[in-house]
Symmetry: C2
Subunit: 482 residues, 2 copies
């Protein structure tokens, strides 16, 4: 147990206990779950973890910390499910950061069926949001691997992506309104179920994706969608990357909004799945360099959906754009195909440490990006292996680099990760892409950003940060540095 030595800090902690209750301020015991990031790369040290139960308590905590900031040097790190991949939600090593956990704010505040909207508190786990929507006969389409643990507040604070972006957009596109506690400890009541509202600057979208550095999202009103009558999945092998892009174009044209996912996987990536999970059968295994998982959501029926897939795939097969294809005959088969796709990161972890990239480039540039970057890295690091997969329909690839077979992955990463990152991000930039498609900046990429954002953009961002959080109370050192 670490008692803070200075009276100002002790007084602040007493004030926080008074606000949220002594039981909701953790200062000792095992705080690992709040201090270590999801991938286990970073372990910080919190002055305290504070768990408010209401928006007013969040606001009071912010005001108390701001009042004591000069005397104590504290700052706040808002945290949801702590599943972020860019080290944006854990404290640094200073011992001067207070984790403001939204975990207790899990209420579903309102469901408005006629308006197709749902208002939930920030700490509500994504899966509960999905379930609340489904219980009312609606779809909340945001879907990602950590949905059992991540919170909707964190999803919005990072503008999460996931597997349904192609049709429904990123988290930002699913958000109609927000309630936010500002850096001054005031509550912006911007919860609104409106689809159209042009009354001033777009505060909502500014807070979304700002990773807790401009304000603390405490609740959100979300857009709901009709539950599809049927959702079916197909698995296709394609002869080239260009063929995958051509198939995407055909699928967009033929299925329009029915196309809810278009995932690309390299043969090598699926080979890792077969190697490490031999019980999983990979359809058409090894017969092509690239594989595509397509998902079709249909408002009519499974029969209709299957006919639409057939109308898409038959001519593509005949013209050689697709080499072979299987359509999942039932829900279990469909789940199996998704399971294969989702097993790639796990198989990769089994294979050993690797250098991960969450990048986007325009779809038209992606083939060149991969060819050039593969060639450059293969020349610099002979034997290096590429685990490429991701959301081709969104132009978002997880372009991961695995140490050469037989080498020690940990040693390889220790020596080469920074250079490999550098080469990949330089290539991304040459092709007009983004070094963080869906994972955000956090602390992980904050010092990379100045190289890959223009000085004009950075200065605009800094001006906004200074305007909305002049004392640097909220998640300092994340997204942009002063």
């Amino acid at each position: 147990m670490n008692l803070p030595s200075d009276p100002a800090t002790r007084e602040l902690l007493d004030t926080l206990r008074h606000i949220v209750g002594a039981a909701q301020v953790y200062t000792d015991g095992d705080l690992t779950a709040f201090e270590r990031d999801w991938r286990g790369r970073v372990r910080g040290r919190a002055l305290a973890v504070v768990r408010p139960g209401t928006t007013d308590e969040v606001a009071a905590v912010v005001r108390a910390c701001r009042a004591a900031q000069a005397a104590t040097g504290v700052s706040l790190v808002p945290q949801g499910g702590n599943t972020g991949l860019s080290v944006g939600g854990v404290p640094d090593a200073s011992g001067r950061q207070i984790v403001l956990s939204l975990q207790r704010m899990t209420a579903v505040r309102a469901l408005d069926a006629a308006n197709a909207s749902l208002t939930v508190e920030a700490g509500c786990p994504l899966q509960h949001v999905q379930e609340a929507a489904e219980d009312a006969g609606f779809l909340f389409p945001l879907s990602l691997a950590s949905e059992g643990s991540c919170t909707i507040g964190g999803n919005l604070a990072t503008n999460a992506g996931g597997t349904q972006v192609l049709r429904y957009g990123n988290a930002r596109a699913l958000c109609l309104g927000l309630e936010v506690v500002t850096a001054a400890g005031e509550v912006w009541q911007g919860l609104s179920g409106l689809r159209k509202n042009n009354t001033g600057y777009d505060l909502r979208d500014l807070f979304v994706g700002s990773e807790g550095t401009l304000g603390i999202i405490t609740a959100a009103t979300l857009a709901l969608f009709p539950l599809p009558a049927a959702r079916i999945t197909a698995w296709a092998s394609v002869p080239t990357f260009d063929a995958a892009v051509a198939l995407l174009g055909r699928a967009r044209q033929g299925l329009d909004a029915g196309l809810t996912a278009f995932e690309l996987m390299s043969s090598f990536a699926l080979g890792l799945v077969e190697r490490h999970f031999p019980q999983l059968e990979v359809p058409l295994s090894g017969s092509a360099p690239w594989f595509v998982l397509l998902e079709l959501s249909d408002a009519e029926s499974e029969t209709h959906a299957a006919a639409r897939f057939e109308a898409l795939l038959e001519p593509a097969l005949a013209e050689g754009c697709v080499l072979d294809a299987v359509v999942a005959g039932n829900l279990n088969q469909s789940r199996h195909l998704w399971h294969l796709r989702e097993s790639i990161p796990l198989a990769q972890a089994q294979e050993g440490l690797n250098v991960k990239h969450d990048i986007a480039v325009p779809i038209s540039r992606m083939a060149d990006f991969i060819m050039e970057t593969d060639a450059e890295l293969a020349a610099a690091y002979p034997g290096v292996r590429f685990v490429v997969f991701g959301h081709l329909g969104d132009g978002n690839l997880h372009y991961n680099v695995q140490a050469p077979e037989g080498s020690d992955p940990a040693e390889f990463l220790a020596r080469h990760e920074a250079d490999i990152n550098h080469r990949v991000y330089e290539a991304v930039q040459r092709h007009g892409g983004s070094i963080s498609a869906e994972h955000g900046i956090g602390a992980l990429k904050v010092d990379l950003l100045p190289r890959y954002q223009s000085p004009v953009a950075l200065e605009l961002m800094r001006a906004i940060k200074r305007a909305l959080d002049p004392t640097g109370l909220l998640n300092p050192g994340r997204v942009v540095r002063d």
Copy 2:
């Protein structure tokens, strides 16, 4: 011809002539087209109209005006097609504002078919954008009455809505990237065709909808969509407002993203069309209090689309949710139905001046809003007539109020417009709505905003304005006042 008397202003105008060419700086002659707002409500007086031809010229103009701002008191009013409905794009009466017209920047810079994106300059008329997309086999779905005259830069600066928002979103949702000249006269190069990009704050959405007060949009990269294989229209009479809402729910569920428009019209509004355009035949005329126009865009065929409409409308008819319905049998019939809808504002103008409102409320609150507001106004102004129509699918109504039959509309407006506005906006606020759904704030509603936005929101907006335009050079007095 008004020669500016002070040397600083003369020098500034010389500098501007040097930047854009003397022929592109208008200081005399008839400047009405630049000085008068679209609805003819306001006529300002410009110090000059400056028409740059490139982004660099826009930036140089901004820098020159900023440098001379203290000595001359000038400010800049960015202007596209000058079709805005909230007086956001015309100069005030001071004679100290320079209209920066984007009219000459009309280039289509790039079309990327594989990426389904299009990059155009801000001055490109919306209709040209639509045509450029269609020429390449794509749909650019933004569509509104002034599309022949308005520019894409203005559409983005005001986050325009229109008739396809239900499926494709507002202008904001169609924009992938922006090029913006900042208030410092720097160029933010944020053109990007990426669907996923989480590298810092969302500058794009901050500039979109900021009505030229935070920066000047000079180009945009837009998202394109597949052209539907068929687009058909239905016209339905419904017994009550609630039945219209119920039909919307059914249509969403049954047609999902195929439902591209759901427009509501009151019987009285259509009656005005019949009165003033007797050559137009209104289907099912007079048989119900409300009428709905539904549009279905289908990726398959006209036959399929017709079958889907039938599957929607038959049970709705059987259950009394719909009284009667007709489906347009061909493109001409479909155009006729849209023409009826679009004739309402014209018929209303023929009927005489009226008090217009562009409001949004959650769809679930709309019936109560209309009932209560109708009753309140009818009690306060006996004989007053309600012309209600709009985008029910987006929760956006044009709730317009016409003087009692036989009264003098001009006199009625002069005496009662402010009070009617007040009553309507108060009701909107009680029902959690927006006083400007798709028309923006401009100068028209800038002094209303403080009543209908919270002090917290207003202070955030002012902080952003001060951060991005500290000298108040860009469109001062619009959206938020300092």
